[in-house]
């Protein structure tokens, strides 16, 4: 069996289904074959669902060259507060850093605001003497004398994982390393998480919180990954299992198990990476990616085929709570409480709101007929004919139209309108919420959405996408052919990738270019070490360097891509000009002020071996063979239209159809508005183009 016949597999464990995608080469024809499958998710033994989906797709284990796995185990353990009991050791004088946090109160008129409860109570937060300076020099020696007592106390208190975060370990991790060695010597079995192993950025509260959250989930994640690996090995899986991280890359299961917090947003990350890859493959590298699920909508902006990765990530942060920071590389995303299950409600003054409360899966929307009495976005879409009544939830549920009408009537009554008008209102408000989220990632950061292609996925994405596109002036929307397993598809095309963010404080001038170059070299050495530990050939690593700059005195930085030779003194002017330009693009003006460097961002990756199938040539444009009838669809402010109904699985490359139309059967409804035309491309993606430029006036 030759190398060509190897298979790449991705499995994605979701709340309900475990999805699988394989890329393989057909031995006879040489054609690339993509296979997809779904199986039920099987908590708490998630590995059973994974094995099941392998079997359903008839994947020959021994021919698997690599297996990429995505899981929500980390975020679930945090959300459900089902992690380990953590003990924290910090620098003397800073026992309360975790509880002090940053002192902010986002819900500022609310005098009853509740500060988020720290993940480690005060009695499990301990201190050791010893200080580093911000320049990475030892100011006071580390005193390990108290450690034995601390470890004894932690054992007695039933601690399961220990987090270590000492002041200025971003500049010099030596004290943290010695402390962790001592802890491991005294208690070899306990899980230990060291802040500088996860992040080399300053801000002690954020770094402490990161280490604590990672320790909190480490025993859970280690058990999970260990068991999965064991099960797959017992079936003689041919290649390694790689794990999806929040930075849109994959890493070895062993390295992720050491810092499981890296997985915290792996689900959205794989979807956004999939959107980036799809954009590249169809020649549309500038993408607004939109994922509308059951409880939330998430979006991310992709420029020139590249996802943006940042470390300003907070869990459970919203307008009403300060949340918890995890300073790890996470794809830049905006998430709002606005999904299919989001509840519509009318306040005491007649104003309609949608979300952020969600009906969840139980009882779910009113139309599920499971006792839900509150109208949701899904109910509104169903009522307006935007979702098929015959193919509701993939045909698995017969919608309860009486319950739907009752719920919508109740909303309407509070606004003085009937159920249909209420449903239109819900759809429009939901759309507006999502438009504002898309503006946050585009207009607010100096990007014009009209220059982007909107890639819509998730259960609700293709249903709302065109309304959002109209509002934003977006001219093209793409619904991926693999929309129903899009996260798994994203995983299979993702690269091995590590992101390194280091705080580096330097003035940008000729005298400091050597120091800037040295800082990059240090990060690059770390990257090589990490990859080599996972048996990757150092020569295969691709390094991309970014500097994080600002005008002296400012707080926020602007990231600028650097070439290796940018750091030659004579090239400095070019570098500073690129900072000025990037700054001006985002903020509309530039200053004649000194520039300082605050950090570096190194992306080290090994490109995925995933191969792309060739596009199929377009055939007959007539969608006749896919037509299964017509339906009356209410397009909210665009009026009521008789729409052509098309079956997704009968669509073939080259087919084209003007709106109004609805494509069904791909796990979601794709709504083609009047004024838009749908074309099936060579990969069977649905490409929707606006017929004419929307009105002037922007």
């Amino acid at each position: 069996m030759g190398v060509d016949s190897q298979i790449r597999v991705a499995t994605d464990v979701g709340g309900t289904f475990t999805d699988l995608v394989t890329f393989g080469v057909d031995e006879d024809s040489g054609a690339i074959e993509i296979r997809i499958a779904k199986a039920a998710t099987t908590p708490p033994d998630f590995d059973l669902g994974v094995l099941d989906v392998f079997d359903r797709a008839e994947v020959p284990f021994e021919r698997v060259e690599s297996h990429v796995h995505g899981t929500t185990v980390v975020i679930n353990a945090i959300t459900e507060r089902k992690g380990a009991k953590v003990g924290l050791i910090g620098t003397e004088g800073f026992r309360d850093t975790l509880e002090i946090a940053r002192g902010n109160r986002p819900d500022f008129f609310n005098l009853g605001y509740r500060k988020p409860e720290p993940f480690v109570p005060r009695y499990l937060r301990r201190e050791v003497p010893g200080r580093m300076s911000y320049q990475g020099e030892q100011r006071e020696p580390l005193d390990l004398a108290p450690v034995a007592g601390i470890v004894d106390d932690f054992r007695a208190d039933g601690v399961e994982a220990i987090a270590i975060c000492l002041l200025h370990s971003w500049a010099n991790p030596a004290h943290e390393r010695r402390l962790s060695e001592e802890v491991r010597r005294l208690w070899p079995e306990v899980a230990v998480v060291v802040s500088s192993d996860i992040t080399r950025e300053w801000r002690e509260y954020e770094r402490t919180s990161t280490a604590v959250l990672s320790a909190y989930v480490q025993p859970v994640a280690q058990r999970y990954l260990g068991r999965l690996d064991e099960q797959l090995r017992s079936r003689e899986l041919g290649g390694p299992t790689l794990v999806m991280q929040s930075n849109c890359g994959v890493a070895s299961a062993a390295s992720v198990a050491e810092a499981p917090i890296m997985m915290v947003e792996s689900g959205p990350a794989s979807g956004f990476l999939g959107a980036a890859e799809l954009g590249r493959r169809i020649g549309r590298p500038d993408v607004l990616a939109l994922d509308i699920g059951g409880t939330t909508a998430k979006c991310s902006l992709i420029e020139d085929g590249r996802v943006r990765v940042m470390t300003d990530y907070w869990l459970e942060r919203d307008r009403e709570s300060a949340g918890y920071p995890a300073m790890v590389p996470v794809v830049d995303l905006v998430e709002i409480g606005n999904g299919g299950g989001s509840i519509a409600w009318v306040d005491d003054f007649g104003k309609l709101h949608v979300g952020p409360q969600s009906a969840g899966a139980d009882p779910g929307p009113a139309s599920y007929g499971q006792g839900g009495s509150q109208a949701t976005t899904t109910d509104a879409n169903l009522w307006l004919g935007r979702i098929s009544r015959d193919d509701f939830c993939g045909g698995e549920i017969v919608p309860d139209l009486d319950a739907t009408e009752r719920a919508l009537t109740e909303v309407g009554a509070r606004m003085g309108v009937g159920p249909t008008e209420a449903a239109r209102g819900i759809v429009r408000i939901a759309n507006n919420n999502m438009v504002n989220a898309l503006k946050l990632i585009s207009l607010n950061r100096g990007h014009d959405p009209r220059d982007f292609t909107l890639v819509a996925f998730g259960g609700g994405g293709p249903m709302h996408a065109l309304a959002l596109a109209d509002e934003l002036g977006v001219q093209q929307v793409v619904v991926p052919s693999t929309a129903s397993v899009f996260s798994a598809w994203g995983m299979i095309v993702s690269d091995l990738r590590h992101d390194y963010f280091h705080t580096v404080l330097l003035d940008v001038d000729r005298a400091s270019v050597g120091a800037i170059a040295a800082a990059f070299s240090e990060a690059e050495r770390q990257a090589v070490k990490d990859f080599v530990a996972d048996a990757v050939d150092a020569g295969a690593i691709r390094m991309e360097r970014f500097g994080r700059f600002r005008y002296q005195g400012q707080e926020h930085t602007t990231e600028v891509a650097l070439d290796a030779d940018d750091l030659a003194p004579e090239r400095l002017a070019g570098l500073t000009e690129r900072f000025h330009a990037a700054y001006e693009a985002e903020y509309t003006y530039r200053l004649d002020a000194p520039i300082e460097m605050v950090g570096l961002h190194l992306v080290a990756s090994v490109p995925s071996a995933a191969v792309a199938p060739d596009p199929q040539p377009p055939g007959d444009p007539d969608t006749g063979p896919a037509r299964i009838g017509t339906r009356t669809v209410d397009f909210a402010e665009l009026g009521i239209h008789e729409a052509a109904l098309l079956a997704a699985d009968a669509l073939r490359p080259g087919m084209t159809c003007p709106g109004p139309a609805v494509v069904e059967g791909a796990g979601t409804s794709v709504l083609v508005h009047p004024g838009w035309t749908m074309t099936v491309d060579g990969h069977r993606n649905l490409v929707l183009d606006a017929d004419v430029t929307p009105e002037e006036g922007r």
Binding site: G112, R414, H556
Partner: protein, 557 residues
């Protein structure tokens, strides 16, 4: 049937709501833009700033994110601009400045308002505006506000409403005046451009909205939004008990403040006439500034939601007396207005806490605890200056122990400075940042903890100004709880190890090795301590927040 149903339906309510959402989004976007680009940490960290979208008459259509404290000044500032400049001289692309508290809409001279008119179809339809604390606007002392000032003329540049950008073109003279009058020219220029970029961002968004939905719908949405704000406020007002409630309290400087709040079915009247005459010291507060705590408390009582507009405050009537600390006449100085504003807020809060104890908890540390530390950075040789408020303990409420280590009630989404950033940026050592375990705040529900922070100074030429209030009178308790603990600071001299305690110190010289210890108060307790659940007392002891002996003494055994 609700009010929406019988309202004239010229515009459908969903469209109006979508436009209103965009007002909020524009105000928020301006806030973020300003925060990201400002040069002064007092703007980007402390958030001594605010943004708003206003209608064509300068009425507040939507306040921005971030903090509550400037919610009610930008409307007044815009009205002053409109009145002074005159509509004939207000055109597309113009940007205006104003900074004179005696004209209105500004709290002290450091706060500069930047406002931009929004035009659509040739008509003025709205304004976008922001206000931010500029680090130095001239005057007799670095930072402009000085405890020594006796007249506003000593506190820096006074800008009447002026056009700084005319149809998109900067008016060079105005920029020159602003910069020439600042000791920190680069920061001054950077902050001013950040403010201009922010109002321009908001202006562009609002123009897009008007183009998309039409000027009529835009205006209708603005009117409707304010009516909605008023409806929410009036519904909240109806839930408050009617009557007149009075309270007076001595503050640390010996003055006695007095508030009388009268609640009727349609008004929330705050009478501040029985307060001291204006001071010669810069602790005066203009009427517009005094309105801020009144609006904030009213908003918290009637509708805790984040968004506010003119309607939210329509039921308020404020009565002040010319020549008093809350309506000073020229040339009274007011650089430290917040040391009066926060006590006023706290007194209003305490007055109402007796009336509606379930919605308002016990007193919090209630001080900005303004900390100004400066000198030459020992590693970079550049001057540094810390201008920061402190975090402290909040009071207990009927349901919960108070929050520990939060900024005061006039702050919002304000972030403290991490020790690691502080040490690098300011060349000092933060030796400690921990919870304050001083006695105080015990009760059935306990007050939250303040903090202890120790700055070890390294600069050879260091200086410090510390202004802590509620140092003499600790945060107040409710319903049999114990009062909290006071705010104070101590300076431990390197030379002889002596410790000096301060509540206010202006222009202290510091030497390398001196330690400034900042201690902020624990919040007030609520309810009889002996009623506290056993398990919670044990938890407090285990967490080292109270000794076993003291716990037995206070909570019983």
């Amino acid at each position: 049937m609700t009010a929406t149903a019988d309202r004239p339906t010229a515009h459908d309510p969903i469209t109006l709501e979508i436009i209103q959402n965009s007002f909020q989004a524009a105000a928020d976007e301006m806030f973020v833009a300003m925060k990201k680009t400002a040069m002064s940490s007092i703007i980007y960290e402390v958030l001594d700033m605010g943004t708003a979208v206003l209608d064509e008459d300068g009425e507040l259509a939507s306040s921005g994110a971030g903090i509550p404290a400037f919610v009610g000044v930008l409307d007044k500032a815009c009205k002053v601009i409109i009145e002074t400049i005159g509509s004939d001289d207000i055109g597309p692309g113009d940007v205006f400045l104003t900074s004179d508290p005696y004209r209105g809409g500004v709290t002290h001279l450091n706060d500069v308002v930047v406002a931009m008119p929004v035009f659509a179809d040739g008509e003025l339809i709205a304004w976008t505006a922001n206000i931010a604390h500029n680090s130095d606007v001239g005057g007799m002392a670095p930072g402009s506000a000085s405890g020594e000032a006796t007249e506003i003329f000593q506190e820096g540049l006074r800008l009447p409403p002026v056009k700084a950008i005319s149809a998109g073109e900067p008016v060079r003279a105005i920029f020159d005046i602003v910069q020439l009058n600042s000791r920190l020219r680069e920061a001054s220029e950077g902050d001013l451009w950040a403010a201009i970029a922010a109002v321009r961002t908001g202006e562009r968004r609002l123009r897009e909205v008007a183009a998309r939905y039409g000027v009529d719908a835009f205006r209708a949405a603005s009117r409707d939004f304010m009516d909605y704000g008023e409806q929410v406020a009036r519904a909240g007002l109806a839930g408050l008990p009617e009557g007149t409630f009075e309270l007076e309290e001595e503050i640390d400087d010996g003055r006695v403040l007095h508030v009388a709040i009268t609640i009727t079915h349609d008004e929330f009247v705050v009478d501040l006439t029985r307060n001291p005459d204006q001071a010669e010291a810069p602790t005066n507060c203009t009427r517009d500034a005094a309105m801020i705590p009144v609006q904030m408390l009213f908003k918290s009582l009637t509708d805790g939601g984040i968004n506010a507009n003119a309607g939210s405050f329509r039921p308020i009537r404020l009565v002040t007396r010319p020549g008093s600390v809350f309506e000073p006449v020229e040339p009274a100085p007011m650089g430290f207005y917040y040391d009066l504003l926060l006590p006023l807020y706290d007194l209003l809060w305490r007055c109402m806490a007796q009336v509606v104890p379930d919605s308002l908890g016990a007193g919090h540390f209630a001080s900005v605890c303004a900390t100004l530390i400066g000198g030459t950075h020992p590693d970079t040789g550049r001057p540094y200056s810390i201008i920061e408020p402190q975090i402290g303990g909040w009071g207990a409420s009927a349901a919960h122990d108070g929050n520990s280590a939060m900024f005061s009630g006039v702050h919002g989404d304000t972030f403290n400075c991490p020790a690691e950033v502080n040490e690098a940026k300011n060349g000092l050592v933060v030796r400690r940042m921990s919870l304050n375990t001083d006695e105080g705040g015990e009760g059935r529900r306990t007050g939250g903890r303040g903090i202890v922070m120790e700055y070890e100074l390294r600069a050879d030429d260091g200086h410090a100004t510390l202004a802590f209030t509620r140092s003499k009178f600790p945060p107040w308790a409710l319903d049999g709880g114990r009062p909290g603990s006071p705010n104070y600071c101590e300076v431990v001299a390197a030379e002889d190890g002596s410790t000096t305690r301060y509540s206010f110190a202006s222009g202290l010289d510091t030497a390398p090795g001196d330690v400034i210890r900042i201690v902020t108060g624990n919040g007030g307790g609520l309810g009889d301590p002996t009623e506290r659940e056993r398990s919670l007392v044990e938890r407090d002891v285990r967490n080292g927040l109270i000794s076993a002996e003291r716990a037995a003494e206070i909570y019983g055994s």
